[in-house]
């Protein structure tokens, strides 16, 4: 008996995909931020669910709450005060939706075929980790997708946050017994990076008059 409720973990991880999708696809940057905030809360929930295995994860859940659910959304909210609407992305909603569903299917197939290689667990815990890994890989891939296909610099930062969430989810699923120091390091890093990127994007908006990355053309070769 692991003490983890499988239904809860499955539901939370699947909701992660939905929130990622919303964060990538919402044209209003503030709606995206809210979707990201929802995802951060889901991660906190997942961490609490896993905390029965390792008490350090309570600490990690608290850190995630502060960094992912408070600080990062707050920074994003401030950065989108003047321009809520995203610059039109390269790929529209329809194609995006098809691509994302295909991506999820591939990741599911892959992780269920190979999870045994990474997951040192059996039974219930292994099944949970398989699902979590599929979700983690999908969220990660969605982050990369957002960075590659979105023109708005702030949207690429949201993509980056998704990327990080994917990796953090995989870390918790694969190695729930990890030490606090490593977790604190990772969590702090994300916040500082996001803050710095948004600070630079603020400068870009000031000098270029836009956050459209296609307009950044001072340096070509």
């Amino acid at each position: 008996m692991t003490g983890i409720s499988p239904q809860l973990v499955h539901t939370l991880s699947l909701l992660m995909i939905l929130t990622s999708f919303a964060a990538v696809e919402a044209r209003n940057l503030r709606h995206s931020t809210i979707a990201y905030l929802a995802q951060a809360l889901l991660i906190c929930g997942l961490l609490l669910a896993y905390a029965t295995l390792n008490e350090a994860l309570y600490y990690w859940a608290a850190t995630a709450l502060v960094t992912k659910a408070v600080l990062v959304p707050w920074f994003l909210w401030r950065a989108t005060a003047d321009a809520e609407q995203e610059t039109k992305p390269l790929i529209g909603f329809g194609i995006s939706a098809v691509l994302i569903i295909a991506l999820l299917a591939v990741m599911y197939k892959f992780t269920h075929a190979h999870a045994g290689l990474f997951v040192n667990a059996t039974g219930e815990l292994a099944a949970l980790a398989e699902t979590n890994l599929a979700v983690a890989f999908t969220v990660f891939a969605l982050g990369v997708y957002a960075i590659l296909t979105r023109r708005d610099a702030i949207k690429t930062v949201i993509g980056l946050c998704l990327l990080e969430n994917g990796v953090h989810l995989s870390l918790v699923s694969l190695a729930p017994t990890i030490k606090e120091t490593a977790l604190a390091g990772i969590a702090t890093e994300v916040v500082v990076t996001v803050y710095l990127l948004l600070y630079i994007i603020g400068g870009i908006r000031e000098k270029f008059g836009t956050t459209d990355t296609f307009k950044l053309s001072e340096l070509r070769w």
Binding site: H114, L117, F118, V119, N120, F140, V144, I147, A153, T156, V157, L160, L163, E164, V167, S170, L171, L174, A175, T177, I178, K179, T181, A182, G185, I186, E189, V192, T193, L196, L197, I200, I201, G203, I204, K207, F208, T213, L216, E218, L219, W221
Partner: protein, 526 residues
């Protein structure tokens, strides 16, 4: 067999420049000179400690601090001496250079004073985080340190806060963070698998993982290596993940460019080698992938460098190419290959830092950096001209300079391992490097004085600038003429890195062990 000894030194190497940074941020507001003194002291302290670490490791001792979280072996020692040495030179170079930038109005006036304080503060943090990468023995903290060095240098890249700097800074932070997050995924996979074999927190320690890597399932090895190579490779400027590099290296203040090209790329490749080479004995195709990527990189970098008219961008692309050579050495995967890779890493660090500093001296005196606008500067700036030529010939691999020795070792290693195709491409690309760098040097320093170079105020760079360049130029010459001077630290550092198995398939069968896909086995299968 090295002896392990608990010592505070590896941690102190990181703590001293960090403390200097904190003091600069706290006290630097009061006086101009204090932040400069603190910067030089921080960097000099780091160098003194690094030399002490190097001294111990050369005598066969591995130093560990804080429960093995920090660990300095011969490989770490080589890197920390390099980082702190070039760090100190860049800091000394900054003294006059950055003050001059302020006087010339190169910075937004309203924030000049605060920005110079931030400059030295972040410079110290940048050096400290790079040193942290080299002494971290915790695989997750290795990622944290690599990302921390990106953050610390990010604000230095956008220092001028103009359109070009901001664009470069955005690309720099975004691409590097994405890349490094890939490497975190790789680190997580290695840690999770390692923890299941070693049990508990031992799976975090690189020194322990090295022994367990042979038991990793092949799929994990392939996936983790791919993530690690893409991740750390992005930071090391490996093609096709290099587009951030020319922008950031060209737009950052020159002393920072010298650090970015001179040592940051090396620190990233160190992280790559430290993690990926643990799979070499059990899974040699990883090395083959690195070799192919290295050769691709050295070609791309050279071809792109040919097309540049901006002195700093040209040097930046040349760095891409030279990192290809370093990766080629590690990709060859034999003892000699790794030795040659490290040797070239050292030589390129010295020569490219020299070239950037010389380019900075040209910008200092003339205010220009476009190659086609400059000419005849050797008459007015003989020291800078001499130093630039030394750097150019060293990077191109011309005797009697240091780059020749390492490229020779590299090509010998390639030939020895039977990778002739890589050797031939490497030699051809070296010729392109020679053309690119000598052509630029000739255009800037020889011929008639023209354009901004002909101004009456143009003269040799100030003493602190010239001396730092001269030190690097002398090192390039000394190592080139007397390479034995660096043999023992390099050999000791190379011995730390695991090599691919060179057992023949027959021999392997006799011993009953089958090194999965050793280079010789791969060749026999073809």
């Amino acid at each position: 067999m090295p002896v392990e000894a608990a010592s505070i030194l590896p941690a102190l190497v990181v703590i001293v420049p960090t403390a200097a940074a904190v003091l600069i941020f706290l006290l630097g507001r009061f006086t101009t000179w204090l932040r400069e003194v603190l910067g030089v002291l921080g960097a000099a302290g780091a160098l003194a400690l690094s030399l002490a670490v190097g001294h111990s490791t050369l005598r066969g001792t591995v130093l560990t601090s804080f429960n093995d979280q920090f660990r300095a072996d011969s490989l770490s020692a080589l890197l920390v001496v390099l980082v702190s040495g070039i760090g100190l030179l860049a800091t000394v170079y900054s003294l006059r250079y950055m003050r001059h930038q302020v006087q010339e109005g190169g910075l937004p006036h309203t924030t000049t004073v605060g920005r110079l304080r931030a400059y030295y503060g972040w410079l110290m943090l940048f050096i400290a985080t790079m040193l942290w990468v080299c002494v971290s023995n915790n695989i997750i903290m290795l990622y944290v340190a690599v990302e921390a060095s990106t953050i610390a240098s990010g604000l230095l890249v956008v220092f001028y806060w103009d359109r070009r700097a901001l664009e470069a800074g955005y690309k720099y932070l975004m691409l590097l963070t994405v890349g490094i997050t890939f490497s975190l995924f790789g680190c997580v996979l290695v840690y999770a698998t390692g923890a299941s074999i070693l049990g508990g927190s031992k799976g975090l320690l690189l020194s322990e993982l090295k022994g367990a890597a042979g038991m990793f399932p092949t799929t994990t090895v392939v996936l983790a290596s791919a993530f690690l190579i893409v991740g750390f490779g992005t930071k090391a400027g490996i093609a096709p993940f290099h587009p951030w590099l020319p922008d950031a290296h060209a737009e950052a203040p020159t002393p920072v460019s010298a650090l970015l090209s001179g040592v940051m790329l090396k620190v990233a490749i160190y992280a790559l080698v430290r993690t990926v080479s643990m799979f070499y004995p059990s899974f040699a195709p990883v090395a083959m992938f690195a070799l192919a990527l290295g050769v691709f990189t050295l070609v791309i970098g050279d071809v792109m460098a040919l097309a540049q008219d901006d002195l700093k961008r040209m040097l930046a692309y040349s760095s891409v190419s030279q990192m290809g050579y370093v990766l080629m050495g590690f990709g060859i995967g034999t003892q000699l290959g790794i030795y040659a890779g490290l040797f070239h890493l050292l030589n390129h660090a010295l020569a490219k830092a020299l070239l950037f500093l010389a380019a900075g001296a040209v910008m200092y005196s003339t205010g220009a950096r476009t190659i086609s606008q400059l000419g005849g500067l050797a008459k007015k700036m003989p020291v800078t001209s001499f130093c630039f030529f030394v750097g150019a010939l060293a990077v191109a691999g011309v005797p009697p300079f240091n780059g020749f020795q390492s490229k020779l070792a590299l090509f010998a290693a390639g030939a020895g391992a039977g990778d002739w195709w890589a050797v031939i491409i490497g030699i051809a690309a070296s010729l392109i490097t020679l053309v690119v760098l000598v052509k630029a040097a000739k255009a800037v320093f020889w011929g008639e004085l023209s354009g901004p170079a002909s101004g009456p105020a143009v003269r040799e760079a100030p003493l602190t600038v010239s001396v730092t360049m001269a030190i690097l130029a002398v090192l390039c010459l000394v190592i080139g003429i007397y390479p034995k001077a660096v043999y023992s630290p390099l050999r000791a550092a190379a011995a730390v890195v695991q090599t691919i198995s060179t057992q023949s398939p027959g021999l392997a069968a006799e011993h009953g062990s089958a090194p999965a896909g050793s280079r010789s086995a791969l060749r026999a299968a073809r």
